[in-house]
């Protein structure tokens, strides 16, 4: 076989291997988005071109406020997740060895074997007024009457952090794993305090993990529907809920499509701004 035919075969094989990915991207991701775009820009009455559905987002305070609220709470959830997950990841990657490392890592994973819906209902059973925690507080005398812990923004935050914890721990563990212990020892040998070592050696090394974890958690929180709807109270407004309402209860697909695309655009913008602000680039983080 000549070198040319081998090269040809390899190229064909490459295309065949890429075909499923390519089909998936085009049929399930790109085409639907084009359809959404078409929906959001065409007036259903006279089939003409219109920006009315995008303008609606900026003109009706409720909509952009809902988005702003969703974005701020998602950012907060991301920061909280990072603060809680970092020590956990550090402990798994650097303090544990061998079997116990596997066990602790698996313990982080196990809650994710059940569906998000079941986990959320679990939280509802714990937190509701006639629920486990409320009853325990009354039994132990810490509270005199039933305590309602559900239906607040704090509950949403709890749910969001809990749901996204794993997606922060995994990238952090893998970047921290790749940090050679001798660097940390050298830091101490050169007279650095705990804080110096953390700031000068560990965090700079973990930055790609932190950034990719943050992007995933932020996107998951922003796009979450179940947690805010089930755990949130009467004031809980979440942007995905608004999209659902427009599509399903209002039959207003045009407005829903516009909201969907705005969510995509604005969240990409926030991620981009976050990368710029921390001096990171997307390729560096993912590479």
């Amino acid at each position: 076989m000549s070198a040319v035919t081998v090269a040809k075969k390899i190229r064909l094989g490459l295309w065949l291997l890429l075909a499923p990915l390519f089909l998936w991207l085009v049929l399930l991701i790109i085409l639907p988005h084009f359809e959404l775009l078409a929906f959001s820009l065409i007036d259903p009455e006279d089939q003409g071109f219109t920006f009315e559905f995008y303008l609606e987002f900026f003109q009706e305070p409720l909509y952009w406020r809902t988005f702003l609220r969703t974005a701020v709470m998602s950012i907060l959830a991301t920061i909280l997740t990072l603060v809680i997950a970092f020590p956990v990841a550090f402990y798994i990657a650097k303090m544990l060895r061998g079997r116990s490392k596997g066990i602790v890592f698996a313990m982080c994973l196990i809650p994710f074997w059940v569906s998000e819906l079941v986990r959320t209902f679990g939280w509802m059973i714990l937190l509701r007024e006639s629920g486990v925690i409320s009853n325990f507080l009354q039994w132990s005398g810490l509270a005199s009457g039933p305590v309602e812990l559900l239906y607040t923004d704090a509950t949403i935050m709890l749910g969001l952090v809990y749901t996204s914890m794993l997606f922060m721990v995994v990238p952090l563990v893998s970047t921290l794993d790749s940090l050679d212990d001798s660097y940390i020892e050298a830091g101490y040998d050169l007279g650095g305090s705990n804080w110096d070592v953390m700031r000068e050696i560990i965090i700079p090394h973990a930055v790609p993990g932190i950034v990719s974890g943050c992007i995933i958690v932020f996107m998951l929180s922003l796009g979450n529907y179940l947690t805010p709807v089930l755990l949130g109270g009467k004031d809980s407004l979440w942007f995905t809920e608004q999209i659902y309402t427009q599509f399903i209860t209002r039959f207003n697909w045009e407005q829903g499509s516009a909201f969907g695309l705005l969510l995509l655009l604005l969240s990409s913008l926030i991620v981009w701004a976050g990368l710029k602000a921390t001096g990171q680039s997307f390729t560096k983080t993912m590479g």
Partner: protein, 355 residues
């Protein structure tokens, strides 16, 4: 026998199985509400006709959205409420006219059949026949909140943090009636309707502090009432009777300004693949003894003539306790929703939620 023959024999057998199953797999894809197609009824239907029934549970908005997305394909029979048939047909063209000659009209309560026929006629064609009817009103825990008699009583500060309702159109309409308005009369006048809804929106905004949570799924409402976390709710009659069976203090109360009556219907999606089976199912479930089984599982009565004979006495007693004769006369039946009203309501509901 060598390996090859075993292999080919098993392939042929498998082939035969596949062939026979595709041959026998006459299927009815039913888009309906929870409780409207109990297992017992489905099994009996399968035994009689050999048609498999595949049930998808849903609600009004989802049914219409699903059919809109597929332009009327994917299901053979659907069950939206009567007031949502004509407008959805006009706007999205998702249904197929019903051939009334294929339906055994003697099994229906004739006044209900006529009413549904009248309300679901578009361009001279009939699109729906009635199935299950019921009402929305109040579910009250009488040991604590016996004086909740009308929708607006839910806003009584005595019950702050102890009431629940949905943030959906029935709530707007119920409150409008309780505030002395007639929203149904204003259906044809969008400006007047908007004015009424804005007034109701203000009332609901004021009332928000009283609400523990806006329920969305029926089960969430049931668990709030059952656990005693709330003492009064705006909800469906069947939910109230379900709670009544566990706790006799709780029951459905027809509000002073009138319970809101709905009729869930049978409609054919435009691209139904098994119309014949759909008619068979309709005629089957309207038999009085089958209809009684559906009443048992859904909690609501049907449009089947003579089925109350087969419904158990407890169910009837609960119904009579909730509805006096004058309460029944006072039921406000939903007329067909004209297009565009949902947008007005949507804005108001959004504002209440955001306030």
């Amino acid at each position: 026998m060598n390996k090859k023959t075993i292999l080919s024999a098993s392939i042929m057998l498998a082939g035969a199985l596949v062939a026979s199953s595709t041959f026998a797999a006459e299927e009815l894809r039913l888009l309906t509400w929870g409780g409207y197609a109990p297992k017992e009824v489905i099994e009996q239907f399968e035994k009689e006709t050999g048609i498999k029934v595949k049930v998808t549970k849903s609600n009004n908005e989802e049914m219409i959205s699903k059919l809109k997305a597929t332009r009327g394909a994917g299901f053979d029979l659907a069950q939206p409420s009567q007031d949502r048939v004509a407008s959805a047909q006009q706007d999205f063209n998702i249904y197929k006219p019903i051939d009334l000659s294929k339906i055994d009209s003697s099994q229906f309560i004739s006044s209900m059949l006529d009413a549904t026929r009248g309300q679901s006629t578009v361009d001279g064609k009939v699109y729906a026949v009635p199935h299950v009817w019921g009402s929305s009103g109040l579910i009250v825990n009488r040991s604590i909140a016996a004086d909740v008699k009308d929708y607006t009583d839910l806003c009584d500060s005595k019950y702050a943090g102890k009431v629940t309702y949905r943030l959906k159109r029935p709530t707007l309409i119920g409150f409008a009636f309780a505030m002395g308005e007639d929203p149904f009369a204003a259906y044809s006048d969008p400006a007047k309707y908007k004015q009424i809804m804005e007034k109701v929106g203000m009332k609901l905004t004021d009332c928000k502090a009283n609400v523990k949570a806006y329920w969305s799924g029926g089960d969430a409402m049931l668990s709030l009432m059952r656990s005693g976390e709330t003492v009064a709710a705006m909800a469906w009659d069947a939910g109230g009777w379900k709670l009544n069976s566990d706790n006799s203090d709780i029951t459905f109360v027809a509000p002073k300004s009138g319970a809101l009556g709905w009729i869930d219907t049978f409609v054919l999606p435009r691209k139904t693949k098994n119309e014949a089976a759909a008619y068979q199912w309709i005629n089957f479930v309207m038999r009085p003894e089958i209809a009684a089984k559906i009443t048992e599982s859904a909690g609501n009565f049907t449009a089947s003539k003579g089925s109350d004979k087969f419904v158990d006495a407890k169910k009837k007693a609960q119904y009579q306790e909730s509805f006096s004769a004058s309460d029944i006369d006072n039921i406000k039946w939903y007329p067909p929703v004209p297009t565009g009203l949902e947008k007005i309501e949507g804005k108001i509901l959004d504002r209440v939620k955001a306030s």
